[in-house]
Amino acid sequence: MNHSHSMTHGGNARPHVLPDGLFVGIWVGLLLLTAATVSASVFFPGKIGILVAVLVTPAKAALILMYFMHLKYEKPAFVAMFLVAVGILAIFMGLTFFDYLHR
């Protein structure tokens, strides 16, 4: 993969452009993961279907975030910001559930 950072006269660095084949590969992966979730819910409704969805859906989200949204290639500060936002959401959800389940 070519990750060279070529500079231009424009001033701001021109970002490295990932090859189109990589994006197509990610898209195929996302479709396969979708197929896995759907077929699990059709053929194994109930616990297994839910378990597959719980495991596969975050994996799909990670592919979109890392490659389509470029997060894998951003500075660590962007990843840190993202994790803080998700962490806040997790605290919200965790505390609310704790409240509801112990009433």
Partner: protein
């Protein structure tokens, strides 16, 4: 990209004054906005999770009313539109403007396709009396009524985001064509792309919650 590049000065157009430009700052701002979107939808996901944990049977029963085929088809449509969006951005970054415009057009058409499918799906529900405020929905057990209310609220809010995304695409399309968004200044196209991927990301979570629950 180093800090001095990010804060680089660019020659002004039409005069000798340098114009300040900070791509990394713009991108940071876009991500901060996306986090607020995450928390907005997060609140709705939380309501869904709490009520499903309290009355799971009703959620499962109500979910059988939804059309799995349409939900999965729309997932494929949105995932594909995310691909064409990212290809539009990388085409412009390589300086291929016509390919970028073609890919952006494809993304726009796919989002139209998504909304058309959504329209047929909602119409079918409406004809069966399943719509917020109908007598039928009030007569349902509380858990099932809640499921449908959340279904309309969350897919509806998501649909509004799709429409906003399409408006943003139309604006950047005009600017890429006029040349004000170009290989050296592609930020705006990239940020519309980020927004579009977030819309896709939210749908990835909506699919198992509503269409794959029975």
């Amino acid at each position: 990209m180093s800090a001095d590049h990010a804060h680089a000065l660019e020659a002004g157009r039409g005069n000798d004054l340098p114009v300040h430009r900070d791509d990394e700052g713009s991108k940071t701002g876009m991500w901060l906005f996306l986090f607020t979107e995450l928390l907005l939808f997060g609140g709705l996901f939380l309501i869904y999770a709490v009520y499903r944990s309290m009355d799971g049977a009703a959620f499962h029963h109500a979910a059988e009313e939804l059309n799995r085929t349409l939900g999965v088809t729309n997932t494929v449509v949105l995932l594909t539109s995310s691909l064409t969006m990212v290809l539009s951005v990388s085409a412009l970054q390589r300086g291929n403007r016509s390919r970028s415009l073609a890919m952006l057009t494809a993304t726009f058409l796919l989002s139209c396709c998504f909304l058309v499918i959504k329209y047929f799906e909602w119409s079918a529900k409406y004809h069966h009396g399943i719509f917020p405020g109908t007598e039928h929905i009030h007569a349902l057990p509380a858990g099932e009524g809640l499921f449908f209310s959340l279904y309309f609220m969350m897919t509806g809010l998501h649909g509004i985001h799709v429409v906003i995304g399409m408006i943003a695409m139309a604006i950047v399309f005009a600017k890429v064509r006029s040349g004000s968004i170009n290989q050296d200044r592609h930020g705006a196209l990239e940020y519309v792309g980020l927004y579009w991927h977030l819309v896709d990301l939210i749908w990835v979570f909506l699919l198992p919650l509503f269409y794959l629950t029975n």
